[in-house]
Amino acid sequence: MAHFVITNKIRELRFFADEMTQSALAEQVGVTRQTIMAIEKGKYSPSLEVAFKIAQAFGKPLQDVFFYEKQ
């Protein structure tokens, strides 16, 4: 059976958002910097609410930030 993982391009989006820091994003989203770091590395899958907030911080739809794909 194919194994699916949640990936994201938060790092890339931060770069294009004037090198937004993890702390700045964390503050906008309302989580800790360590949580943003874990999400960015794919170690932690956020709740839908946090995922929407992250996408909102970059002014993008959810599907442009998070991806559900085959490993």
Partner: protein, 160 residues
């Protein structure tokens, strides 16, 4: 190594538990070695001392940490931290539940056996098995707290 404020508070709690365990360990051991003849006043006095020491040292250490570390100190816990706390609590409360059940079974067995008798000739089992219930519960509670803090830190370090 990037530690959040909350992870540091867990480290502080674990260290306080371990330091106090090593400090009061010999006194607890001395009471255990007396067995069932232990003086109830001595047990109560030691338990009171441990509780007060725990509260005072925890408050002081957390105050020092809050003075030193400002980032995240006034922020509420986020969903990832809450998940780690729930998982760690599960580990800790499992240990606590199992420990309490063992203590109760041990207490019931002590009542069934002749006074002063133990289920084993082993000196450790004799002193532990025949010690007052309060003392055994303190050890169980202490161990479960150490397990809870260790599990919490494990999840923080694992990051998921």
């Amino acid at each position: 190594m990037s530690l959040s404020y909350r992870e540091k508070t867990v480290w502080v709690s674990l260290l306080v538990s371990l330091i106090l365990a090593s400090y009061f360990g010999s006194q607890l051991q001395a009471l255990f070695s007396v067995g069932p003849a232990v003086d109830a006043t001595a047990v109560s006095a030691l338990l009171l001392k441990i509780v007060i020491a725990f509260i005072v040292v925890e408050v002081v250490m957390h105050a020092l940490l809050a003075m030193e570390e400002q980032e995240g100190a006034d922020e509420p816990e986020d969903e990832r931290e809450a998940t780690f706390r729930f998982r760690a609590n599960e580990w800790g409360y499992w240990c606590l539940s199992i420990g309490v059940i063992i203590c109760i079974i041990n207490e019931l067995m002590n009542k069934q056996l002749a006074e002063g008798a133990a289920i084993s000739d082993n000196p450790f089992f004799q002193s532990f098995g025949l010690a007052p219930l309060e003392l055994k519960l303190v050890i169980v509670f202490w161990l479960s707290e150490i397990v809870r803090f260790s599990a919490h830190l494990y999840y923080y370090r694992k990051g998921e």
